[in-house]
Chain length 307, copies 2
């Protein structure tokens, strides 16, 4: 059966499951010391997911690569947030956050999702894709940031000359830690409400988002490979744990996905797998002038053009 | 000059400054190894505060005891949240969170505050007190919880026979970590919008809240003294760090004071001094059946009557 005869929903579900397998297998190979454990869960309102978590590995201290497909009736608050009128929905996606042990290896986040809304006859009346990927280093290696952004740009450019610039900007805006007036990391891409229109069919969006998903390992793994064997000091590890605190602050105070999950009875442990393993808060900590730590803080105060 | 000829505002400012001195001096004496550092800060819109922070002490791993007095014009969102019409305001208070090093010693939080609103002629048109204190243990010692609640009840009972029951219940409700369906700790008191009325004059409220403030050390210090020399294992320390994660989750996701501060340009480092020093998130961690850790989790699922 050619895949075009399948519904978009089923094609995307098949895709994210296969991507979850590819990514977890590659990360396990890279880690070398441990593997992901898997928890399957059901959602009372409809659907469920598979959460895969890695902890205390050789390279990866904590990480999750989750897929979920959920359906049912949207709460009114969610209808308002999405700006939609129809209540019957389906949503599926893959979501991952990886926290490496070494402060020299950046944390990474990626998410690729698909949404459908139905009328009373169960016909699809609205559909869109969303997602993105972004990098959060603790120490800045310009070539890593350039590589990550270059992979993002290359995929974007195959689909539309404006995509990279537009979705890079949206990423810088979304992952802004407002109360700190700084970025969570060095960005990447963020896109949402990618609906079929005169320029992009649903198939074209599917092709864009799955190519982005396929490029995730290409964007991240070379950075891991380059940095994972670097030595680091106790002080550098402490810096990483302090910066992880900013990651927690963003996810718990500002991240719409996390807050929506927490306030609507999502599976808490799958949502909060994004939180780092060891974190510190030190009162009013400022890095030394001219240090590598200060270089990061300065960089995060203003989005930068990498490619 | 008899203090009654002073405005309530000035009386309360004098009181919280003196309480800050008493509390920091007593905690320093209890700690034995280090002292608080003080940062004075100004608020651009009007007012400022003194933040006192202790870090890496003999007993206290991280803690802050802050006073602030701020005034100016309320943002509309804050008028709505408070349910008030007048915009010119004054607020002052003392706020403290203490995270001991040992998992056998509970974390404590207290806050005592006073609020005034003015009409166009700068006359006071509304005024109220608020505050409370609550305890967050990592291991449960019933006698500590009973002692803490008994001190709260004794002060309450001097002022009104219903206060303890009412404010204890409000505390259990406020410090509820909704997304975890568990309490942050074993409670204490929480009260707000304590306005002068037919039963309680402003002076009577002042007397209630300052007696509560004076009783803080009596409620907390004996618990510290009893538990600070107990030995503990690496696993018990890990349990404390994991439970501190729940403290972070409450403060960043649910606490109205923290969120208001973060979203309205408060002094970030003074607001977030409440966050614990070392914190862990472990995926889907459940304590062993019959363990002391499980005892805590079970206790937090349902508010308990202690006295």
């Amino acid at each position: 059966m050619p895949h075009n005869s399948l519904t978009m929903k089923n094609r995307f579900i098949t895709y994210i499951k296969s991507l979850q397998n590819n990514i977890t297998q590659s990360l396990e190979k890279e880690d070398g010391a441990t593997t992901f454990r898997e928890d399957s869960w059901k959602r009372p309102g409809g659907g469920g997911g598979k959460t895969r978590v890695i902890e205390n590995g050789g390279v990866f201290e904590k990480g999750g690569v989750n897929v979920s497909e959920v359906f049912g009736t949207l709460p009114e608050s969610m209808q308002q947030q999405l700006g939609v009128k129809h209540r019957d929905f389906f949503a599926c996606g893959i979501s991952l956050v990886i926290h490496p042990k070494s402060p020299m290896v950046p944390t990474v986040h990626a998410n690729f999702r698909y949404f459908e809304l139905y009328d009373k006859n169960k016909a699809v009346v609205d559909q869109w894709f969303g997602g993105g990927l972004d990098l959060t280093p603790y120490y800045v290696f310009d070539e890593d940031a350039i590589h990550f952004h270059q992979v993002c740009k290359t995929v974007c450019d195959t689909h539309h000359p404006d995509f990279y610039t537009k979705y890079k900007k949206q990423c810088d805006e979304y992952f802004w830690n407002h109360h700190r007036e700084e970025a969570r990391g060095i960005g990447g891409l963020f896109f949402d409400y990618c609906r079929p229109n005169e320029n992009m069919t649903a198939d074209a969006w599917y092709s864009f988002i799955t190519q982005m998903g396929d490029a995730f390992l290409e964007a991240y793994l070379p950075v891991v490979q380059k940095r994972k064997s670097l030595t680091y000091s106790k002080e550098q590890r402490q810096w990483q744990e302090i910066r992880r605190g900013r990651y927690v602050e963003f996810n718990l105070v500002h991240d719409k996905g996390t807050l929506f999950g927490l306030k609507t009875n999502g599976r808490i442990e799958s949502i909060l797998m994004s939180l780092p393993p060891h974190v510190q808060w030190v009162y009013d900590m400022h890095p030394e002038e001219g240090s590598e730590e200060e270089k990061l803080v300065t960089l995060l105060q203003q989005p930068k053009t990498w490619v």
